[in-house]
Amino acid sequence: MMNIFNRKSKQPNYKDMPDTELVELAKTDQDAFGELYERYMTKIYNYIYYRTSNQHDAEDLTARVFYRAMSHIENYVDKGVPFQAWLYRIAHNLVANWHRDRGRRKIIPLDEFVASSLRSESPDRFAEDEEEREQLLEAIRRLPSERQQLLLLKFVEHKSNAEIGEIMERTEGAIKSLYHRTLITLRDDLQMKQLSRNRNDNPNRTQKKG
């Protein structure tokens, strides 16, 4: 009898539930969907933020991901693809559409608030470091979308190769290989840019040498 009085509510404890159970509940229970939202909103936002380079579009697309997930969750069947992979795929498709619709593969500077979050070191070193960081970000944005996705999942989300493989529908070995090639591409790209900058900075010296 005391148990009945001590029991606070019949509402399930969503916090401890695994995704699979939550997803099944979320088909009819909005609070279960709310818990899934809490678990993945920031991750999806981060993923989209780095793919779009600005806060406004990241918020807009994040909202669209969750609206779409909510309206299609009834059709979601766990066939070995985890719920988070499903969410990332929605995000990936929306970002791809966003780039296609706006024709925005051009480089856009990151929001000021990100730049300010990076200003952690002394002011003297800041300008130099900031330039290097911006160059690296530009090089990342020049990569094909799947390589950008791989880097974001690894560095921002700290996902393992197996998890990235699930999201990107590839084997763990293929992810390792893609990662290796991505780093080589980035290194070569940065070296090329550095060379062309050096040529632009010292045109006379280059001509004399040539």
Binding site: F33, T42, F155, H180
Partner: protein
Amino acid sequence: MSYTSENRFEDLLSELTDAMLHDASARQVNTLVDSYDVAAVEINPFKDMIYQLQGVLTPQQPSDQFAKRLKRDLMGQQRYTFMDRLRYLPARVHVAAGFAVVAGFMLITRRRIGIDIDDAVELPALQQ
């Protein structure tokens, strides 16, 4: 499929990245590199690249206002029915409501019986 030196290097890169992302010490990183027997010249440019990527690709926090507004908007999409809300009330509220209903029913019944008795008492007086 044979395990080539390229596979080996890919494994090292993955492990090295995981170690650096999990704030491994310089000694741990060096031990890892040594275990793969790869020349420093070969791995160092990648190590620098991983370090730079780690510095640039930092997690961002969406604004609280956005997070709350979106959740509220999403949750407003589906509404609980009145019965759903009742169902999720705490058990003690259910028990108290049950007592209230029974007490109310008894009160009404008693009053009704009381009225009937009064009517029965008054009837003979009217007949006279």
